[in-house]
């Protein structure tokens, strides 16, 4: 039998099967090869695979922590501290990147030549410089040029900026939970209100001033808790204290370390350029005819923006912007370069050096980021489906 006949004899099903079997076999072989090597390597070094080390005492300090932590806590807690720090800097970065990005994206479409050009150059400059260089610049060059503790830059005597960081007042709440519940209650009321307003609009054609009522609710309800609910708020203002002849420190208040400032600055300024481009593309993506049609049926400029342009632009803007949020979160791992104690520095850096458990620690770190990314992309897909044009 020659080869040609053999080929012809292959049924379609077998043709599909062979490459798949080869792929799976190769995959299994690679995994087995790596496992055997890893086992023998770890055997040589006298360590065994396992996650028991997580409950051991970490015995290292972390410079900045949102929760109670010191060297006597476990590695698992150190991981949590790192994770919270990552989430903190990402949240700050996302907040400012969104504001800056939307402003600049709209600015790029401004009729004002100067504004449009400035926005364009902002994007061109900050998009084309590596993020890590921007972080280095802010941390090692710009923030190091700030004055010493004694000659801090003073913001109305309540907050101080110097080379050691930014000192802001600490909020001291009494009965904070009551305040929180009032906000939650306000949000629930607003949801019901908007549902009711929609019903009114659809059935009777009445327009309720939903925005003003919601804003009022959101302000008045928490305010009443101050008057009636026993909630009070006081500030602990940082104060300069002289330790010795030349050493001064700020006591009290919250200190925002320069690592956090420079990281948040660089992340938000860098990501803002991409968000700005998304916003611009989104607004440009709305057909001109849509605006003209809306204007021709007598909608005002504000109504056109709110009812016609924005819903369509958002459909274009949001998916890539969520992607940018995800990128920002992943980029926050560059914190390791300036020693901001995020999950990479604390866990994949210090903890790894101490325990030598490369496989476990790197896998946990990567899995953490992976689950973060996957959950965001699941959310994005859900949102995309919800927002997709439903054709009748």
């Amino acid at each position: 039998m020659n080869l040609k006949n053999f080929k012809l004899n292959l049924s379609n099903k077998n043709k599909d099967l062979i490459p798949q079997v080869i792929t799976v076999l190769l995959l299994i072989l690679v995994i087995i090869y790596f496992t055997i090597n890893a086992q023998s390597n770890m055997g040589n070094r006298g360590i065994s695979f396992g996650f028991g080390f997580l409950s051991q005492e970490s015995s290292f300090d972390i410079t900045f922590s949102l929760i109670d932590y010191d060297g006597s806590h476990s590695y698992a807690r150190a991981f949590l501290v790192g994770l919270l720090n990552t989430i903190l800097v990402s949240a700050i970065g996302i907040f400012f990147a969104t504001i800056l990005g939307v402003t600049i994206g709209i600015g790029r479409l401004s009729q004002n030549y100067l504004i449009a050009k400035s926005a364009e150059w902002y994007v061109e400059i900050f998009r084309n410089i590596p993020l890590i260089l921007q972080i280095f610049f802010w941390y090692f060059a710009a923030l190091r040029a700030l004055p010493l503790t004694v000659d801090s830059i003073n913001f109305y005597d309540i907050s101080f900026l110097n080379v050691k960081g930014w000192y802001v007042p600490r909020f001291i709440w009494t009965n904070f939970s009551v305040f929180l519940y009032s906000i939650i209650l306000a949000i629930i009321l607003i949801i019901f209100l908007s549902k009711y307003a929609k019903k009114q609009r659809d059935e009777f054609g009445k327009q309720l001033p939903t925005l003003y009522i919601s804003l009022g609710l959101l302000i008045i309800l928490p305010l009443t808790t101050f008057l009636a609910g026993g909630v009070s708020l006081s500030f602990e203002i940082p104060e300069l204290e002289q330790l010795s002849q030349t050493v001064y420190v700020y006591k009290g208040g919250v200190s925002i370390i320069p690592e956090l400032i420079s990281l948040a600055l660089a992340l938000s300024m860098y990501t803002a350029t991409f968000i700005a481009e998304n916003v611009r593309a989104g607004i440009l993506g709305v057909n001109k005819g849509q605006k003209e049609a809306a204007a021709s049926i007598g909608l005002t400029k504000g109504q056109i923006l709110k009812l016609v342009v924005m819903p369509q632009a958002l459909r274009i803007i949001i998916p890539p912007t969520t992607n940018q949020y995800l990128n920002l979160t992943k980029n926050s791992s560059l914190a390791a370069a300036i020693a901001y104690p995020d999950i990479v520095l604390v866990f994949a850096g210090t903890a790894l050096m101490q325990t030598g458990r490369a496989i476990e620690i790197i896998s946990i770190t990567m899995l953490t980021y992976l689950s973060l990314s996957l959950s965001i992309s699941v959310f994005m897909n859900w949102y995309n489906k919800k927002m997709a044009i439903k054709e009748k």
């Binding site: 390597n41 890590i132 260089l133 610049f137 190091r144 790894l352």
Partner: protein, 419 residues
């Protein structure tokens, strides 16, 4: 009288333009005097009001000259581009004043007060930037720790590359194919051997000594050449109808896209050696190249998949109806069109790759940004961080900006009527 003052009209064009122009002029003079002569004309006002005085005067002035269809071309141009309403007028003034205020100090630091002559930090006596630092370290910034006497090897490797790329624009189309194959398959080997040495009488230079800008180029060029085919196969795999191949590709792509590059590099540095047989040593640079390639290939795969999805189904059907098999269909019909569609995406991936190269510092390889970091901690050159980062930033900016411009041009040139 009051009515005329409040609503500028075409009838009183001359008066309004004179008064308004004068007010705008005054506001500019005020800011200029404040910046360059340190004079404050409005010092008699309260400090806050004095600060905003030019803005207020300028806004009033701009309001007075805002006359639609004035018949004056220049005035109409100013009004439509800078002064279409009060809000725009204020924004324009703020931008102009900020430029007047902040450009001169930056220029002074950068150029007029900067120091260029000399060889040590002590030669920097001016108040501006100390470019002596960059001058002295320039060799290191470009070549890293590569021995001075051997640097011609890096130079010749790059000259050869530029020569080949340049030649590919001029040679006849028939030869172009062979040149491309040479560039992609043969040249990397020659280039690497030339730089690493160890054979043909060239002194061996270990990869730890490579660095600076040349390393940035080496890493990004290799990763690009390698990640392209890998990404292409991953993209095809993800769209395959065979479940085992599809799910393997999806898993692979999503794994790399879900983690930050820095953890991948950590993995290549500390975890990867554990997976190899005891005693085998893979060079640091090779490990980094593999890590970056796999990472970027996942992104490249998604970009190419976008192109594959954008192609109309008819293209596939037409290819099949001509009796083409899977590979012939993809390589002759589908991929050439799909790749053309995603040139901006590919360029963006490559840009991201170049911008990601500084991260190799986590495994101890120092390209440009890493060398600046090293140089600024040198005891003889403390306090030079600003100069170093500005220089590195400028270099990266020029590279990335040129690349993004080139890709935009390419996109325009290659765009066919389908869009």
């Amino acid at each position: 009288m009051i009515n005329i003052l409040i609503k500028p009209t075409k009838e009183n064009l001359k008066n309004f333009v004179t008064i308004g122009g004068f007010l705008v002029f005054i506001s500019f003079i005020d800011v200029l005097a404040n910046t360059f002569l340190n004079l404050n004309f409005t010092g008699f006002l309260p400090s806050k009001l004095s600060f905003f005085a030019p803005l207020i005067i300028g806004t009033i002035g701009l309001y007075l000259i805002r006359i639609e269809y004035s018949g004056n071309k220049l005035l109409d141009k100013i009004n439509t581009n800078f002064n279409s309403n009060n809000f725009n007028a204020i924004l324009s003034l703020i931008v102009i004043f900020a430029l007047i205020k902040y450009i001169p100090p930056v220029l002074n630091w950068f150029f007029f007060d900067a120091n260029f002559a000399g060889n040590t930090k002590e030669d920097c006596t001016g108040s501006g930037a100390c470019w002596v630092f960059v001058k002295v370290w320039f060799n290191r910034f470009v070549y890293g720790m590569y021995p001075d006497t051997e640097q011609w090897r890096i130079n010749s490797a790059f000259i050869m590359l530029f020569g080949l790329v340049g030649a590919s624009f001029f040679v006849p189309t028939k030869l172009k194919k062979y040149l491309l194959i040479f560039l992609i398959f043969v040249y990397p080997v020659i280039g690497l051997k030339l730089i690493s040495g160890g054979e043909f009488g060239l002194k061996y230079v270990e990869t730890g000594a490579w660095g600076g800008l040349s390393l940035t180029f080496i890493v990004s060029a290799f990763a690009l050449i390698l990640c392209f085919p890998v990404g292409m196969f991953l993209a095809l795999g993800r769209r395959s109808s065979l479940p085992a191949i599809r799910y393997t590709s999806i898993g692979f792509i999503e794994l790399w896209r879900g983690v930050p590059l820095i953890t991948v590099l950590f993995m290549s540095a500390v975890m990867f050696p554990m997976f190899l047989p005891d005693g085998t040593y893979v060079d640091k640079l090779i490990r980094v190249l593999i890590a970056i390639t796999l990472f970027e290939a996942a992104y490249m795969a998604e970009v190419i998949r976008g192109g594959l999805q954008a192609l109309p189904k008819g293209q596939y059907e037409a290819a099949k109806s001509l009796g083409m098999g899977y590979w012939r269909m993809h390589f002759l019909i589908i991929l050439p069109q799909a790749l053309k569609l995603v040139i901006p995406g590919i360029a963006n991936t490559f840009l991201a790759l170049v911008k990601d190269t500084p991260l190799i510092f986590v495994v101890g390889l120092l390209e440009l940004a890493g060398m600046v970091n090293l140089a600024k901690t040198n005891p003889k050159w403390l306090g030079m961080a600003m100069e170093g980062y500005v220089f590195a930033g400028l270099v990266f900016w020029v590279i990335c900006y040129a690349m993004s411009r080139y890709s935009q041009n390419l996109e325009k040139k290659l765009s066919t009527e389908r869009n």
